[in-house]
Amino acid sequence: MRKFILPALMLITSTLSANWTDKVTLNGYFNFEFEEHLSGFSDWPTHEYSSFDSDMVDLVLNVQATDRLRLAADFTWEHGSQSEVDKGNVGYEYAFAEYTLSDSLRFRAGKMFIPFGIYNEIHTAKPSTIIVKEPNPTNKMYYISSGLESTLLYPRWGTGIALLGNSEIYNIPFDYIVQITNGDISYGVDKNQYDKDDNNQKAIAARIRMDLTDNLQIGASFYHDKALNYESVYETKIKTNSDANDVNITSKAYVPVGDMVIDSQGIQMIWHINDDIRLEMEYMTGTLDVEGSSSFRRSGFSILPSYFVSENINLYFLYSKADPNHSTSNNSVVNYAPGVNIEIDHNMFLKADLYNVESNDNNLIFKGDSYREFRVALAIGF
């Protein structure tokens, strides 16, 4: 009997193994950076002086559970993640289940990137972008200004559900996604918006992209959220201990101080003028309305022309400008970065740019100052 069991087991396990490997796909990416502050303003903590950054390694896992059901997850280890010394960041960018009813109607549930603009869904996936880092106005408001003005136009991620798909209108192909997620509660409170929470408000994000021709794509994005704005306070309570003595216990508490409404809109365009010349543009604007505090509009745009001088060498020039608060004059920040992207080997890219920041006098961070950095990145996709 034994002599049959072993071959039978081997047969079963090999079949299972074959089925398992057929259903699972593993991809990922790696990014390593070097930055050198060359000149100018240096009075803030993100300046790097000849420093390396073990920026990230990500594993992208796809499990095609059935013909219509896919599970996707992107696990990330950022900035040399080392829990022993509490450094870096470990997490997952997304993990969701996607069910395809048809190509024009898919359903997703889980943690997802917020589908806004060109960059958010690929902001960590450096091999898929030409530039070293995404333009600040697209969502790095904390590099533009401080305080409430540094509030993101939309959060990076959200937990919820989404409908998405692609189809055609009048022979124009388009894709869309509509996403409903937990409202963002990350402002001033230590809670988890990816978990069940006490915030009744839900955020909604949507994007549509249309391929007007094989070489010209335009798109529009929208985000709305009504978050609770918290203030952290220290509370002291008197408690009687086991010896019947009263002791003062101080703890941190979060007091909701009002609503915080975020509305953001964006438009984008990617135009492949020919095989070698590409032009990408994005404009974003939005309002931030904080109850009992302030209400203002902000906006920003980026322009990125690029040109392949040879099969593997792509030259680019990134220009972006952001106005973090339209109610304040003379507070904009301009970034520009001439750069090069060289594909050294299959999906292995060496990027370098000369990153310049210039500001107006009323900007809350830079106060009219400017600075320049040299940045290099090695990005590998697999």
Partner: protein, 153 residues
Amino acid sequence: MKNLNQIIKSLFIVSSLLFATPSLFAEQKGVIVVSEDVNIDNLSKKELERIFLGKTTIWENGKRIQIGLSTNNSEKTSHFFNDVIGKNQRRFKKYWLKIVFAGYGIAPKLFKNDKNAINYTKKQEGVIAFVTTDSIKNVQGLKVISIDGKEYF
């Protein structure tokens, strides 16, 4: 003089053989093959483009579409990308990097030789693959389909 005649004679024989057996030196052709379970014989160029760009992901019979690509013949592969898919290979690669990393789909499987692409098509269900070969007919377990009525690129 006798040697020269012999050389000319030999050259004539060799060149005659070359013309008489074109298949030996025939140019490889690009073809689209599908797994046996895929119940189609013809696709339009537009339908093929949508499949290779990950926009159409389900066959009419409900099976998931899996994409294979042989990059064995760079000239034919590049012709396939430029003229059939409408994006050059570099752009196609970047396109799929974004799709995969942003969580929108599973990338086509790339094969460095036709044999592996053909084996993949035979072994898996729902596969559509681009291969570059001139001896694909009558291979069991897969079939050649035409694109806008044409079998070869």
